[in-house]
């Protein structure tokens, strides 16, 4: 998958559904692959409530 993404022109990618991030940038894909959060502490016992999340993001290639 990585090489497939590399082979594409990253600058061609446009974000179709997630409007909270900037479209058409290589940074976008990098942040998607590495979108870990920082180590900031959570209030109280919130750290016990974390769940697995699944997301499918759609990017327009046009």
């Amino acid at each position: 998958m990585s090489s497939y993404l590399k082979d594409r022109k990253l600058s061609d990618y446009k974000l179709a559904t997630d409007t909270t991030r900037k479209a058409s940038s290589a940074t976008l894909l990098e942040s998607t692959i590495n979108s870990t959060k920082d180590g900031i502490s959570r209030a109280g016992e919130a750290y016990k409530k974390s769940r697995v999340k699944t997301v499918v993001k759609r990017y327009s290639l046009k």
Binding site: N34, T36, K48, S50, R51, T54, V56, K57
Partner: protein, 187 residues
């Protein structure tokens, strides 16, 4: 005795516990769109062999050795998701993938590490780690280059001490190397 150590380390160690790790599991072109599938794990534990992690790190930081041979270089790091005990017991640890509930007597066995598919790690309040259960049927890899980026390493919370790390490693290897036998009939 706490199984955890807060001793910092420049490299990943087997038994490192990370929080909030998001990985891309698949990407595919569908028509004019690119679909990118992501999974976010609340907690996960490094399972790559300790000596492999050490050799990888040492060789990458030795220009002479790196130039001579990249035989010890790791392409990926192996992780096992770790689920909060409550979700695990309720069978709700994975959205859209309901699993069986674990009753109290089974849960006691899980917490004593007496069921070989699962590995229990106790709560560490200081590191904000709840009671966790690893399911040895679930694991994933992250490219080594990605895992060592600062943004990824920021997910590190704590690490298992030597003995507890080896216990985890041994149990994982044992589970993966099990042999499924057909049902036997008496002669």
């Amino acid at each position: 005795v706490s199984p955890y150590t807060s001793e910092p380390c420049a490299r990943y160690r087997q038994g490192d516990v990370l929080r909030d790790v998001t990985v891309v599991t698949w990407a595919e072109q569908v028509g004019d769109d690119m679909l990118v599938h992501e999974l976010s794990f609340p907690y996960c534990v490094v399972l790559t062999q300790e000596c492999d992690l050490e050799q990888d790190f040492d060789n990458r930081n030795s220009p002479e050795r790196f130039a001579a041979s990249q035989d010890k270089i790791l392409p990926t790091i192996l992780f096992c998701p770790a689920y909060p005990l409550g979700d695990f017991a309720a069978g709700t640890q994975f959205p859209g993938m309901p699993m069986r509930k674990i009753n109290n007597s089974e849960l006691d066995r899980v917490k004593k590490n007496n069921i070989y598919r699962y590995h229990f790690l106790p709560e560490n309040k200081a590191a904000q780690i709840p009671d966790l259960v690893l399911d040895f049927k679930h694991y994933f890899t992250v490219p080594r280059e990605i895992a060592y980026r600062d943004t990824f390493k920021a997910a590190w919370r704590t690490a298992l001490g030597d003995l507890f790390r080896e216990h985890l490693s041994s149990r994982f290897a044992h589970y993966l190397s099990r042999i499924g036998l057909p049902e036997t009939e008496s002669a």
